[in-house]
């Protein structure tokens, strides 16, 4: 979808307005969306779609997804959470997922950064090397 300048400007302004003290504000987002729907400016549906996309990307930046082959014990997980918070700020939310396909090790994704220490990744690299 090619977005025109107007849509992009509007959705970016909305994203900027949805923060209070550097945090996303649920109430502000809802009121922004409601007021836009009420006013119905030009291209408002596309602007809303783009706004939700920008919000999703913003949320992904503040969410860490920790995938591991087996259940992580509580001391390790709390250590991971504190380390990640040190690196990415205290408003980071962490989600733990068990994925047996990784075979072993752990894979952490925050936004578009990925730390991969899984056996599967190493095997894939070995396959490429050979």
């Amino acid at each position: 979808m090619k977005l025109n300048k107007e849509i992009r400007r509007l959705s970016r302004a909305m994203l900027r307005a949805s923060f209070t003290d550097g945090q996303l504000d649920r109430g502000r987002i809802a009121s922004l969306v409601d007021s836009l729907i009420e006013k119905k400016p030009r291209h408002y549906i596309d602007a809303l779609k783009n706004y939700s996309r920008l919000l999703r990307l913003e949320l992904e930046k503040r969410q860490a997804r920790v995938e591991s082959a087996s259940e992580v014990d509580s001391t390790t997980s709390s250590e991971i959470v504190t380390n990640l918070k040190k690196k990415y700020g205290s408003d980071l939310t962490t989600e733990f997922v068990v994925n047996p396909e990784l075979l072993g090790g752990m894979r952490i994704r925050v936004g578009s950064d990925v730390w991969d220490g899984t056996v599967r990744n190493r095997l894939e690299r070995l396959q490429q090397e050979l």
């Binding site: 996309r53 920008l54 990307l57 578009s112 950064d113 990925v114 220490g117 190493r122 070995l126």
Partner: protein
Amino acid sequence: MSSILEEIETKIEGLKTSTTKSNVGVVRETGDGVARIEGLSDVMLNEMVEFPNGVFGLALNLEETEVGAILMGDNTLVEEGDEAKTTGRLLSVPVGKALLGRVVNTLGQPLDDKGPIKTETFYPLEKIAPGVIKRRSVNQPVQTGIMAIDAMIPIGRGQRELIIGDRATGKTTIAIDTIISQARLNKAAEDAKDSNYRPLYCIYVAVGQKNSNVARVLNTLEREGAMPYTTIISAPASDTATNQYLAPFAGAAMGEWFMDNGMDALIIFDDLSKHAVAYRQVSLVLKRPSGREAYPGDVFYLHSRLRDYSNAPRV
């Protein structure tokens, strides 16, 4: 047998540096040899991007939340939702004397049946051209072997020359004749053991030509014994627009190696209007703004950049 095992074991040892950090994105849209990727926040312009199944792409458009990449290799293997990874590398091609006498594609892979190309040096497709101070003025002619040209409008080593004309008026023929003439001169100097003569190696880049035309050129060069001094880079019309767009840069990289090693090379780009068409296709699919006849605005910059390499110290 044991040596193979040892080799594998050392490779496994090398892989123990467990955790790797990478920057990833998700393919949101793909088609026409272009993928749009969401994420990839650390990607650099012209960086190679790795897709699953060993497909690589080149990041050409960096936007606010998305990256537009052109795909090399089988682009049907890339699907929406695939994960793309940055590699931190620039696209490079093999260079060196091993390429002489060979027909290769844009990525330097052989197209003739003469086995793999053994070379250890790789050059990036785009490099910053040497500055003005480093360049030497033209002081040695290139004998095209066509008397009218050599007498009236001589060309020298270290210069660029545009060959323009209507179709089927013999533009390619002039280029091929020049290659053959160089081969004869190189051979004569070799036979006479003349160490003062600097051989001129030739690189012929065929962009958007018919395969039959490339085959005909190859035949002519082989018949005249010019192939030992020549590399042909072929990105025929049936090739993807990406490969056609990159082929002249690959040729320039191969020519640069000769330049850096104190040798001379002649590059022929045949032809740049087809190259511009390939670039237009890539640009339009990447949704870049277009200008006259839908060519992107930087099409002239593209060609001037391409030929800027070629007048560095010696061609």
